[in-house]
C-alpha cells in the first residue's frame, strides 16, 4: 500500500513536470509579449504547437544516420527524468535517493551530449555551428554549476536534493552571503543552459546568432516536438531546482502527511510562475550578447560560485 502511494507520488511528479513545462514556456512568452506591448500568443499555444508537430510527418535528410532518429528520444527521456527527479512539491519522494544534484547536472549534460551529436549528424554547417557553440557554452557553465553545488552541499552536508531542501527548511540558515552568490550564479547558469537571452535567443532564426536553434535545424515533426518539449522540461527543471534549493518553503517534507500535496503543488506552481515572470522581465531588459562575449558572462557566474564556495570553506576552516 505504502509502496503504491509512493509510486503514485513519484508518477504524479513526473506527469506534473511534463504537463506544466509547456505552460511555463507559454507563460514566459505571453509575459514577454505583454512587456513588449504585444498581445502575444495565449498560454496554451505551446501545447498546440507540440500537438501540431506530433501530427506532422517528419522529414529526414538522406545523409542522416540511424542515430539521428534515436537522439530525440534520448534527449527527451533524459531531460524528463532529470526534471522529474528534482523535488517539486515534496521532498523525499520514492526515488529521491536515485540521483543527487551532481547526477542531475550530469544527466542534463547527457541530454546535451546527445543533442550535440544529433546536430553534427546530418553534416551541415549550421548543425556544426550550433553543436560547437553549445558545447563551448556548456563547458563554461558546468564548472560554475558545480561550484553552486559545492556551496549548497557544504551547507547541507549532502548533495542530495531532498536532504538540502529539508535542511534549508529545518535549519534557520538565514540570509547567507554565499547562498546569495550561489543563487545568482545558478540563475546565470540556468539562462545559459536554457539558451535564453542574453546568451542565446530561443525565438531567433537569424543563422549566425543561433546556437540551440541551429543545432536542431534539421529536425521536424515528432522529433522536433520531442526536442521542443525537452527544452521546455529543461527550463522547468532548472526553475524547480532554484525553487527547491533557495525557496524550499511550502514543500511537503517526507515526515508530513501526503494530504498536504495539493498545497505543495500550488506553492511550486507559484514559485516557477514567479521565476518565469522574472525571466521574462530580464529577457526584455537586456540585449543578446555576441557569442564570444558569453565566456565573460559565464566567467562571472564562475567567479560568484567560487566566491560562495570559498567563503564557506573559509568559515568552516577558521
Amino acid at each position: 500500500m505504502r509502496l503504491l502511494l509512493d509510486l503514485l507520488a513519484q508518477g504524479l511528479q513526473m506527469t506534473l513536470v511534463l504537463a506544466a513545462a509547456p505552460l511555463l514556456v507559454g507563460w514566459t512568452r505571453k509575459l514577454r509579449a505583454r512587456l513588449l506591448r504585444r498581445r502575444g500568443p495565449d498560454l496554451v499555444q505551446p501545447y498546440r504547437d507540440l500537438v501540431r508537430l506530433l501530427r506532422k510527418e517528419p522529414v529526414i535528410a538522406h545523409s542522416a544516420s540511424p542515430y539521428f532518429r534515436v537522439a530525440p528520444y534520448l534527449v527527451f527521456a533524459s531531460t524528463w527524468i532529470a526534471a522529474a527527479l528534482v523535488p517539486t512539491y515534496a521532498t523525499g519522494l520514492m526515488f529521491h535517493w536515485a540521483t543527487d544534484l551532481i547526477a542531475i547536472v550530469a544527466f542534463l549534460g547527457f541530454a546535451r551530449f546527445a543533442l550535440g551529436l544529433a546536430g553534427m549528424d546530418v553534416g551541415t554547417a549550421f548543425g556544426g555551428i550550433g553543436s560547437s557553440r553549445e558545447v563551448m557554452i556548456a563547458s563554461l557553465a558546468e564548472p560554475a554549476m558545480l561550484l553552486v553545488v559545492f556551496t549548497l552541499a557544504l551547507l547541507a552536508g549532502s548533495t542530495q536534493l531532498s536532504a538540502i531542501a529539508e535542511f534549508l527548511v529545518r535549519e534557520p540558515v538565514g540570509l547567507r552571503v554565499s547562498l546569495g552568490l550561489a543563487l545568482v550564479a545558478l540563475l546565470m547558469v540556468a539562462i545559459a543552459e536554457n539558451a535564453r537571452i542574453p546568451v542565446d535567443n530561443p525565438t531567433t532564426h537569424l543563422e549566425l546568432t543561433m546556437v540551440h536553434e541551429a543545432m536542431v535545424l534539421e529536425y521536424s515533426g515528432r522529433h522536433l516536438a520531442l526536442i521542443e518539449a525537452a527544452s521546455a522540461l529543461k527550463l522547468t527543471a532548472y526553475f524547480s531546482l532554484v525553487a527547491c534549493l533557495f525557496f524550499p518553503f511550502g514543500m511537503v517534507t517526507s515526515t508530513s502527511s501526503p494530504l498536504l500535496y495539493p498545497l505543495g503543488i500550488l506553492a511550486w506552481m507559484a514559485k516557477i510562475a514567479v521565476l518565469g515572470a522574472v525571466l521574462a522581465v530580464f529577457e526584455t531588459a537586456v540585449a543578446k550578447l555576441r557569442v564570444f562575449r558569453v565566456p565573460e558572462f559565464l566567467g562571472g557566474a564562475f567567479v560568484l560560485g567560487f566566491l560562495g564556495t570559498l567563503l564557506l570553506f573559509v568559515s568552516r576552516a577558521l
Binding site: 529526414i60 538522406h62 544516420s65 540511424p66 527521456a77 550530469a106 546535451r112 553534427m120 561550484l147 564557506l312
Partner: protein, 668 residues
Amino acid sequence: MLEFLVLIVALLAASGALGVIRALDPRRPLLVYGIALVLCLGGLAVVLGHRVMGAPVLRLVLPLGLPWVGVHLRLDALAGFFLLVINLVGALVSLFALGYGRHASEPGRVLPFYGPFLAAMQLVCLADDAFSFLFAWELMSLVSFFLVLVEHEKESSHQAARVYLLMAAGGTFSLLLAMGVLAGADGGYSFDAIRGQERAEATVVSVFLLALIGAGSKAGLIPVHAWLPLAHPAAPSHVSALMSGVMTKVAIYGFVRLVFDLLGGVALGPSVIVLILGGISAVLGVLYALMEHDLKRLLAYHTVENIGIITAALGLALAFAAAGFDLLAALALTAGLFHVLNHALFKSLLFCGAGAVLHATGTRDMERLGGLLRRMPTTGISFLLGCAAISALPPLNGFVSEWLLFQAILQSPILVSLPIVLVVPAVGALLALAAALAAACFVKAYGVVFLSRPRSAEAAAAREVDPFSRAAMLAFAGLCLLLGVIPGLIVDALAPVGELLLTAHLPSQLGNPWLSLQPLPTSASSYNGLVLLSFLLIAGGLTAVVLHRFGGAGLRLGPIWDCGYPDPAPSTQYTATSFAQPIRRVFGTVLFRARETVTMPPPLATAAARLEVRLEDPIWERLYVPVARAVLAAADRLNPLQFQTIRRYLVLVFLSLVGLLVLAAARS
C-alpha cells in the same frame, strides 16, 4: 596461487619466442594472441579467486636476481586489483588482436614483444623488492619501445620512440634513486625491509618527489607527459590500447605502492602538490585533445586528462590520510582506483575502435573521415558508449568514479588547513571543467568520425571489421555500462585495498537497497545508475510507443534542409578543426598561442579562401626543446677535442699529472 600467476607471467614472456619464428606464418598472430588471451583469462581467474579468498597477502621468493636479495614476489589486495585490470583488459585486447593483429604488415615486429609486454606489466605489480620492481618497470618501457617502432618507416615513430625511451629511462632513474634512499647505503632492497622504517621528514619528501617524477613520467602527468601523445598513437592500435589503458595504470600502481605503502603517506604539503598537478593535467590534457584532429593522438591526450583525475584523487586521499581521516582517504582512494579501472576499460575500447576505423579507412586524420556509423554499426555503437563513458555521463562508469571523487572533495573542509581550503575547490572546478570539455571533445570526435557525411572516398567505402574485434569492443562497452549501473561491485572489491593501505574502507555497497551507491553513511548523498538507466529506457521506450501509436510512425526521406541552401559537397561540413574553434578562441589563444590567419581572395576572384590555424605546444617549447638544445650545444663545444694534435693531448696528460702532483704536495 601466486605460483600460478608466476607461471602465467613466465609463459607470457616465453610466448614472445613464438613471435620470432617466421616459419609459423601465417598462423603466427593467431597463435601468439590466442595464447595471450588464454593466459590473461587464467590470470584473471587467479586474481578473482584471490579476491574471493579475501585478498590475503601471499609471498614468494625466487633465487634469482641479486643473490643476497633474491626476487621477492607478493600478491596483496593492491597488486590484485591492478592485476585484475591488466588481465581483464589484456584478455579483451588480445581477443581484439585475434582479428586486428592479422592485418599487420610485418607481424615480426609486433609479436615478439606482445607477450613480454603483458608479462612485464604484471611483474611490476607482483614485485616486492626494489631490484625486481625496477627491473620489470624498465623492461616494460623497453618492450613497449620496440612496439612503438612497429611502423618503422615513419620518421614520426622514430621521434616518438626516442622521446619515449629517454623519458621512460629518466623516470626509472628517478624511481631508482628513490629506492636507493629507501633501501639505504647497505642495500636493504626487499620491500619488507623498507616498510617498517622510521624516516626523517626531509627523506620522506625527497622520496615522494622522486616517486612523483618517476611514476608521473610513466603515467603521463603534465609536465612530464610529452612522450605519451607521441608514443601511444605510433604503436599499433591494440598495443596503444594496452599502453594507454594499462601501462599508465601500472605507473599509478607504482606511485601508490611507493607513497601509500612503502612510505606510508606524506604530509599535507606534498599531497597538495599531487592535487594541483592532477587538476592541471586534467584540464590541459583535454585542451590539448580538443586541438587535435588525429584520432589516436586525441585519445592519447585524453589519457593525460584521466591520469590527472586519478592523480587528483590520490592527492586528496593523501591529504585526508595525513590529517587522519582514514575513511575519507579510503573514499578518495576508492574513487581514484575505480577510475583506474574505468579508464582502462573505456580507453582501451576507444583505441580499439580507433584501430577498427584505421583499418577500415586507412587514416587516422579525422578530417578525412565521417559517416562511419552507417557502415560500421557495431564499432560505432560501442565507440559511442565509450565516448559517453569517458565524458563522465551517467549512467556509465566514468561518471561514477568522478561522482565519488566529487563526494570526497565535498568532504575536504574538515581538513582545517589553508592551502587545502584554497586548492580543493579550485581543483574541483578544474575537474568539472575537464569533464565538460571532455564531453565537448567527444561530441567533436564522434560527430566528425562516425556521424556526418563521409569526407573522403576511403571513409565512404569503409567496411565493418571482423567478428573478433567487434566482440572485444562490445565486451568493453558492456563492461562500461555494467560498472556504471552496479558500481557496488568495484567499490566493494576495493575495500581490502583501503584496509591494506589506510586501515579503513567504505561500507559494503552491494547490501544497499536497489544496489544504489552511498559511500558515506554520514552524508545522505547517494547515486543509483541502475534506476537511472531503467528510467531512461522506460521513459524513452514509453515515449516512442506512445508517439508511434498516436502521432503516427510515418517518416519521409528528403534532401538536407540547411536553411534552404544545402551544399552536396562534404567539404562544406563542419570539420574537427572548425568544431574546436570556439573553445580554441576561449582557451587556446593564451595557452597555445593559437593564431588564425585568413587569406581572402580578391573580390570576384574564384580562388578559394584559406584559413590557417597555427598552434604551439607551450610545455614542449619551454621545457624540452631548451634541454635538447643545451645538450647538443655542449656536444658541439666538446667535439673539437676529437681533432686535437698529439701535442695538445700530451698537454692534457701533463696538466693532469702536474695537477695531481700539486694535490699530493698540498697534502704534505
